[in-house]
Amino acid sequence: MSLVEILFLIVGVLSVAAAVGMLLTKKAVHSALFLIANFVCVALIYLMLDASFLAMVQIAVYAGAIMVLFLFVIMLLGAENPSTETKEFKWLTPTTLLLALGFLGIVALALLGSGINSQQTQPAKANVRFVNALSVYSSADFYLNGELFAGGVTFAETDGSELRFAQVEPGTYSVGVTLADVKRTPLPIGEITVNEGDSVTVVAYGLPGTDVNPTVVAVNEDISATSAQIGRVIIVNAHAPARSIAVLDAGVDRLFRTPQEAEEAPVVIESLGVGEYVAFSEELPGTRNWVITDATQRDNVLVRLAGEEAGSAYPVKAGQSQLLIYTTDRQGDIVIDRALNVVTPNQYAFGSPQSLGQLLFIEYMLPFQLVGILLLTSMAGSIVVAQRTVSKPKPGRPTRRKVSRPLTSVITSQTGTDVMVDDEVPQLSAPEETAEPVGD
């Protein structure tokens, strides 16, 4: 029995005890307090089940807001005293106990019959995407096992919808490529193997007619959440024709004046052959003065890594995975060495506020809005229900009578004679009587 299981047992027994306490205590306030204890126990179990955000919501909303509302109403109505339990239905208690035992028995049978734990969990899918580093294909369609997987991936594309991950079943796939929108049998360029849960970026590179034929390198990226102090970098050598590279820290001016200076520069990566990649994490993200050089001739700077602005130092940031692809851009006879920077934001951990927020605001946007409307309606409804009905005085006869009485008393006080005994009274009430049939 692991520590978590022992903890679960303790908290589970406590939560059941709190529920029984709620059921049996006579005073309503005690019942409410037992229910709060039960909610806190359930929140602890949520924590054990990797639902940290829900545990916090459970304590704040259930044990906090809702139970305060209950306690407030109990106090307001003076319902905390043990009410006179009228035993009108004597058969209710044994029937309830029988039904409860029956229900629990059915649940136990269902659990034994289904064998939930022996069931295999659904195989997690794998994520795959393609980066086009084939300079002969300005825009390429990529095929997995002969089926179109990613269409219209432009050369050196490092951003946009073409570079989103798409899910595939785990397994081994053959990769084919054609020029975009040309209906031809795809040219086979290699084979990739993806395992479940992996996020694989397939970099297609090479140059027909050289010693590096078009081929692929499958880079397994770690895009799970990390601490804010870690920046993840993967450097891929996808150069054609073949050239091994080294990555050096060239200092602020990013220039080697003498071969000696290049030999003494701090080494980030000693040597990286074509089709190889190396993944590493950098502590304390910031900018790096990295340059890519020839592995054998270190003062031959091929590419100075830069940020968004040309000439700036290469930024390493937290909360993402940065894929650096060293490749060749060949347009006619001109060959330019380039470094493509593909940035992938981290995926959030299961049950974290971020992952729940992403689900709520992307996939469950409409239900979320509907729940908001429901809350608004219930707010208005509770106001309407709890509002005391104030009886307004009817307009018409009663108001006029109220006015006429002080008027007669004013006349009485000023003239000294009581107008009510005069024969003027039927005259005053005459117009009222004509108006009466309308009301009745």
């Binding site: 589970g12 709620m22 019942s31 039960n38 939930i116 734990n117 709520l360 219930s378």
Partner: protein, 100 residues
């Protein structure tokens, strides 16, 4: 790692206790609190299965259930207050005839 079966058993026990509370207690507020207990046990099962299948959708449903429970409590307690004003009692045995 807690087995999903044990959590479902706990959830069933809590649900039964809640249902017993609804049937046995005569105080309307306590009947309401028992309903909350039942909703909560359903949430527990949802969270357990969400963890079992690795799908966070179960968490979203729990979130919605909590929201609906909050709305239900607001309206229900307003109803109880209104009934108490009318009949000076929240004993459900006094109310079972549904007379004005």
């Amino acid at each position: 790692m807690i087995s999903v079966e044990s959590v479902v058993v706990l959830s069933a026990i809590l649900f039964t206790l809640g249902a017993m509370g609804v049937l046995l207690r005569r105080n309307a507020i306590l009947v309401f609190m028992s309903v909350e207990l039942m909703l909560n046990s359903a949430n527990l099962a949802l969270v357990a299965f969400a963890q079992k299948w690795g799908a966070a959708d179960g968490h979203v449903f729990v979130f919605f259930v909590i929201t609906v429970a909050a709305a239900e409590v607001a309206v229900g307690l307003a109803l109880i207050v209104a009934i108490f004003r009318l009949k000076q009692s929240i004993n459900i045995d006094d109310l079972h005839q549904m007379e004005g």
